[in-house]
Symmetry: C2
Subunit: 316 residues, 2 copies
């Protein structure tokens, strides 16, 4: 397997593990990188000093490339960027913010920059800002999400037509068949969050993982549209938020209920009723918490099986 | 090309034209059937007598199979079913209702029944009710939509695992590459609404079609969740509804604003500000109003190109 994504990121398979809050520490990232994908540390739930620790540990745990996901709206962004440069990180996936602000500085420091977008308009902006590739993430994805609500099926071909840089698909992808489907639509690689968030090496609370592997379709919904659209599990907190929204509450009232640290409470500390639980729609297809090695093996063999099957199809 | 869907429906290509309100009369359905797909008359916007007229005309216009889409919650459902049986219709696609109610009667009359669902739970119910196949329609689709909001990427593999009857994918599919992606996920055919709604033969108002071929991502959103979730274009009516919803209006207030006949006003009469405009997300990829023959040729050649490209991929 060799294409623009494997070449750019120097990886064996074009499979990237999403850098998610509370899930993506050095254990997960190094396991994915050791198994031929690209592991990403999730800076969104780390202080700069904690990120430094994870980078150091990840470097010891794998000799393969890994990267850091950085939400650009993060309040400690300056400290995070300083650590990334000082520690000689080679790959940054940026998200949730303007790619113009940091891309030049990162590239000047020899860092490969990939930006996560949810529309072809933002893909074009990212390309114009000089990023090396984009992740196009559809409505199915967990956590923060685009206001356009474009599903992966409609999003990927649209972004493919709009930009010429390498395109990585995300949102609703958790299997090898999903990877092949994304490739059919024009993607050159995939980013999978949910599947890896529910791996043994993910640092999320095990009760959270167990809940996620028992979800059905419709158990996550895009919420908080008056703040920043976020896909959440329908738990106690979700229901309280929905009740407020249904009776017309504004942003202030929602923020007051939310308070701070709700994802930590839910995903890290395991308070499944009062925490903010972010996970993607594809969770309803994932029934087991497995080691990354098993997940990667399954994905690769599913991909090969699906490809083999398609190769038997006749032209129309 | 031959598989369970082409065998069941006796068509050349496993491409079904969605039976949409105000778009799918005999001209559209017969054109699709004449070009190797399956045309469906959309009974949802027809009186029983008008449906009879369209069936008669469609039979004259094509010697190939065609069918009728029937929303089961339709108020004139008894009259519609009577016409379908009396006219010897061979294929019914039912949607929006309980498949148990009518499937047996239709099957007893020698009619092939396909039911449209938005979740694997409903797919199982449809299979148990004895339908011959299901259409699994994802969040990207225009018009009425499931409460689970599951995107096509996550929905198809889930339904594939749940039922063993033939599976047709819908929602966000408008190109040959999209068909191949749906097949990769386990579908055996596709239903395309939006692409055919914007064809020359669609009976929708030409101003509506022109608006649709100029939409961008995010210009349709799932709306009316307190009534029945419906994907609409963000026009004047949508904004009024959203304003009500944002300040906490209940179902009664929304219904009062809506009144009756809003889809007719918008999609058939062409009042783009005050009408209810139903179309799928994939509209943002469609820039031309073309004859069905051209659309089918393009889809087939895109499918073949995408398949050829995938066949060159190495296994991992």
């Amino acid at each position: 397997m060799e294409n623009r994504v494997t070449d750019l990121l120097k990886i064996k398979y074009p499979v990237i593990q999403g850098g998610m809050v509370w899930c993506s520490g050095w254990k997960l990232a190094s396991a994915v990188s050791n198994n031929g994908g690209l592991g990403l540390l999730g800076a969104g739930s780390m202080t700069p000093e904690l990120l430094r620790e994870h980078i150091t540990k990840c470097r010891t745990a794998t000799k393969f490339p890994f990267g850091v996901n950085i939400p650009l709206i993060y309040q400690e962004i300056d400290g995070i960027m300083k650590v990334v440069v000082e520690e000689g990180v080679k790959i940054v996936f940026s998200s949730a913010g303007n790619p113009k602000t940091w891309t030049k500085m990162l590239k000047d420091n020899g860092i490969t920059v990939v930006h996560v977008i949810s529309s072809s308009k933002f893909a074009k902006k990212a390309e114009d800002a000089g990023v090396d590739a984009v992740v196009a993430e559809g409505f199915e994805a967990g956590g923060h999400n685009g206001r356009e609500e474009t599903g992966t099926f409609a999003l990927i071909p649209q972004v493919r037509k709009t930009v010429s840089i390498p395109l990585i698909a995300a949102g609703g992808i958790g299997t090898g068949a999903g990877i092949l489907a994304a490739m059919s639509l024009g993607a050159e690689g995939v980013q999978m969050g949910t599947r890896f968030a529910l791996s043994a090496e993910s640092s999320a609370n095990v009760e959270f993982k167990r809940l996620c592997t028992n979800l059905n379709e419709g158990d996550t919904l895009l919420s908080l549209k008056k703040l920043s659209p976020t896909r959440l599990i329908r738990n106690g907190l979700f229901n309280k938020l929905k009740e407020l929204e249904d009776r017309g509450a504004g942003a202030d009232e929602l923020l007051e209920l939310l308070g701070r640290g709700r994802t930590r409470i839910g995903m890290f500390e395991g308070d499944l009723e009062n925490g903010e639980l972010e996970i993607g729609q594809i969770a309803s297809s994932i029934r087991e918490i497995e080691p990354v090695e098993t997940i990667m093996q399954k994905i690769i063999s599913e991909y090969n099986d699906s490809l083999k099957k398609l190769k038997e199809e006749d032209e129309w």
